[in-house]
Subunit: 296 residues, 2 copies
């Protein structure tokens, strides 16, 4: 199987389409990877896109984008609603196929080291790549944001993992890490009563004692009660498992499932796992998919 | 688009790994095709693998394998649970891309003619390649199996399409044809009573009024009652649909499903359809699979 890594770099520029495109196009220079789904938000003053490919290609592609962002974005003049510490704010690597989390952590560290040395930007490792427990959570790494970190970066407890203990004069700091693939998944209930969706959401989400790695909220969307979810680790709870759990809880309120929607992209491995669980086919594997064998 | 044909020859040897490998390696001699997913089953005493490539390459590759199987397998000493009439039992050609069903039928006839002439093995054409209505169905072609066909092959109604009207002394007969993509799928029941598997099989198979494009039989495999199926058109009945139907019928005999097994390869499209149905996610499409975006 081909080695596949996803990277979703976030940049502190969400207004100037010219600059946003320059950063996006820099990533596209590496022809061996796919770069897509450019998104930007003016009030957040932030943009992001997705790079997918073999580890080396993704590494080169995101580094090209970081170099351009470092030149174009000045954090001294940046205003936006979203928390941020630098021009290239967050860079997560995500294992997609044929790659372990360990390899993504190694990739994060390699990128952090290069950014620290060559661009003189302080780098913090977060999530699975974190080297200290207080840096696992992204919100904690970014506390005080660009302005606050500037005054605290010389303190021992805020020492970066790579680069100088001093903010880059215009690009600030950077957070690089590795995390699991996130699936955005919505289930629409056969009722207009948003209260049912809210109750079901509270039953299934991890923080209220529900399924592991499930974040859920109840909304009313197009007149329909919707359980809107982020599955932050489909190896713990996959789309089919959460579907059946919602079905079970909704039944207690005499409500059925109208339909469901996978929002955006899903890794093939999640479908393979779904087949394994739904069909109790423990031995089923991705290599049994015809297309995987022909184009390998 | 490149012309792609799949061929899945089935051989009556599922125990002797040395012989199985010799047959597999013969097919691999043709370097222009992919030969993979060798599987074998001791109680069925049967093995199969997949060849994919351009029509000419696939033709050469499968013929090499047939030649070796003809030398190595003696049907006079063959015992196994799966119906069979010969050493190389069944050879289907399946259009995958850029090739019509008609081209696959022509390929089947060309192979049948060569096997009849050069190896002196009687050959029956089946499914889309069949020349008589009573030979379309594989089960009908194989009725009586090796032992039964031996006594009947000289009768006009059992005259083969190619080769002598007489069984090959050790290799028996062969069935060659063209068909749609077939998913081999087994569901193991939580009982040792093969009678339940046989009853469930009779409820779900098309010929007895069950699900369309489903062929099913009940076996005892590794001490477990198994519903063994061929899904001959997954666009009509897919793995998840037949799983739920079996679950429903087995319940009437107070039996559950132990596990299931997709045997060999499955097209990605079948998994996408499974997600759509199981999750009521009508709008889900293959383009949402990350890997598909990369190799498009």
């Amino acid at each position: 199987m081909n080695k596949l890594v996803e990277c979703v770099p976030n940049f502190s520029e969400g207004k100037d389409k010219g600059k946003i495109n320059q950063i996006f196009n820099a990533a596209k220079k590496v022809k061996s990877v796919k770069v897509f789904e450019l998104e930007w938000d003016k009030s957040h003053n932030r943009s992001l896109f997705t790079i997918v490919g073999a580890p080396e290609g993704v590494f080169k592609s995101v580094y090209e984008a970081i170099k351009v962002a470092t030149k174009l974005i000045d954090m001294e003049n940046h205003v936006g609603e979203h928390p941020r510490v630098g021009a290239t704010d967050v860079v997560p690597f995500v294992p997609i196929g044929g790659v372990s989390m360990k390899e993504c952590v190694a990739l994060a560290k390699k990128l952090g080291s290069k950014v620290g040395k060559e661009l003189k930007i302080p780098v913090y490792l977060y999530e699975t790549a974190a080297t200290r427990p207080d840096l696992v959570n992204l919100a904690k790494v970014r506390r005080g944001q660009y302005e606050g970190l500037k005054g605290e970066i010389s303190k021992p407890e805020r020492k970066p993992d790579f680069g100088p203990s001093k903010m880059h004069k215009s690009a600030g700091a950077m957070v690089i890490g590795a995390r699991k693939y996130l699936i955005a998944y919505n289930v629409n209930l056969d009722t207009k009563d948003v209260g049912v969706a809210k109750k079901v959401a509270s039953k299934i989400r991890e923080k209220d004692g529900g399924l592991p790695a499930v974040k859920a909220m109840g909304f009313k969307v197009d007149g329909c009660a919707q359980v809107s979810m982020n599955l932050v680790d489909y190896e713990k709870t996959n789309v089919d498992e959460v579907y059946r759990e919602i079905e079970k809880w909704a039944k207690r309120y005499k409500v059925g499932i109208k339909n469901s929607e996978i929002y955006g992209m899903i890794p093939l491995d999640a479908l393979v796992r779904m087949a394994k669980v739904t069909l109790k086919a423990e031995r089923f594997k991705g290599a049994q998919i015809l297309e995987n064998r022909i184009f390998e």
